[in-house]
Symmetry: C2
Subunit: 97 residues, 2 copies
């Protein structure tokens, strides 16, 4: 099981994840992605869903037209772990292409 990052580790990880911030008293990280339209927004979600399923680590996320709001947390660890950092980085990569 992945272990929960402490505040220092979490801050260091966030420094390398543009747009992501700690939420819910530091037990999760979140970012809202804004695209051009629904096609782009859902295309991002489809690609991110495949990564998440492969990792067996899934986002809490919502979509309204061109926006996708994502929250990541590792429930079994009670906070943010390397799994969240890895998935957040993958989402940034997908959105940036």
């Amino acid at each position: 099981m992945p272990s929960k990052l402490n505040a220092e580790e979490r801050a260091a990880a966030l420094a390398g994840l543009p747009g992501w911030k700690a939420v819910k008293d530091g037990t999760a990280i979140a970012k809202t992605f804004t695209f051009t339209d629904f096609n782009e927004a859902f295309g991002f979600m489809a690609r991110a869903a495949l990564v998440a399923e492969k990792m067996d680590h899934h986002p809490d996320w919502s979509n309204a037209y061109k926006e996708v709001a994502v929250t990541l947390s590792t429930h079994s660890a009670g906070g943010v772990t390397d799994l969240d950092v890895k998935l957040a980085g993958a989402m940034n990569d997908i959105a940036g292409r």
Copy 2:
């Protein structure tokens, strides 16, 4: 532009849409779909996204693992229209297969 359904028309439409209910003072309809796992939940979203894009009418929705919570409204009409009823029916069809 589709016209907003009045309360009577909306109630009649909801009677034919199992699981959907009026929310936000009757200006929207909502349903939470629960699937077996993320694979099924996102499969539903992918199919519904294609229908929504074809209709050019998009849901506000969120997903957490096996749950998908959907809210439909026609913003340009300030309430629920036939577009929402049609998309809600299509989502029930997709989820029911």
